[in-house]
């Protein structure tokens, strides 16, 4: 258990509304990642962070922004949610020098 929590676990929102998902870790790991998972697409990287206030884009970053003001929290924001952003969102952390990642339980987001 890498001490990763995500909130909320489920959310339904309307098109055009802003949404923020939170990832919280308890072990002060440097690297944190946000993925989305959709049928037929596996896990796709949205944004990642390599330290406080240090973030960068992944392969599917359009429509998303992130912030990391504290080591333990990594926030994902959908500025104006669209139906194409209906998905399951996973946060992950990387420990040490390996490429092994540890995932949170996920947030299921539905945009109507």
């Amino acid at each position: 258990d890498a001490g990763i929590t995500q909130s909320p676990r489920h959310k339904v929102t309307e098109t055009g509304t802003p949404v923020t998902l939170r990832c919280h870790q308890t072990e002060n790991h440097r690297y944190m990642y946000w993925y989305r998972q959709d049928p037929g697409h596996g896990l796709r990287l949205i944004h990642y962070s390599y330290g406080v206030k240090d973030t960068d884009k992944g392969e599917v970053s359009d429509g998303y922004s992130v912030s990391r003001s504290k080591t333990e929290d990594f926030l994902l924001t959908l500025e104006s949610a669209t139906s194409s952003q209906t998905s399951v969102y996973f946060c992950a952390i990387k420990t040490g020098q390996s490429y092994e990642q540890y995932f949170g339980p996920g947030t299921r987001l539905t945009v109507t």
Partner: protein, 111 residues
């Protein structure tokens, strides 16, 4: 970005049968991770393989890394319903420790 191909995409078997799933790439892996994801949960790391020809065992699961480090397989002996899930392979790269994931194999083991 390296493309990982996993096969088969779906596999449905009876309890007690053996199975093998595959992860392939056109490029050499630096290291390869296998994850299992159960419905409604996040992926859980099973194993990392690094050395060409490496074999690792985790109870009834056997992981092999190809000699050329461009392919890997996961063999499950005497599958059980608890093995049901999505099996993902992933390859890390040196850029901020990012990983590229395959699309996975969805395994269903029927009692």
């Amino acid at each position: 970005t390296q493309l990982l191909e996993q096969s088969p995409q779906f596999l449905s078997i009876q309890e007690g049968e053996n199975l093998t799933v595959y992860c392939n790439s056109s490029s050499v892996f630096s290291s390869l991770q296998w994850y299992r994801q159960e419905p409604g949960e996040g992926p859980v790391l099973l194993v990392t393989v690094v050395t060409g020809g490496e074999v690792k065992k985790l109870k009834r699961l056997t992981f092999q890394f190809g000699d050329a480090r461009k392919d890997s397989s996961l063999h499950i002996t005497a599958a059980q319903p608890g093995d049901t899930g999505l099996y993902l392979c992933a390859e890390g790269n040196t850029n901020a420790g990012k990983s590229t994931f395959g699309d996975g194999t969805t395994l269903t083991v029927k009692p």
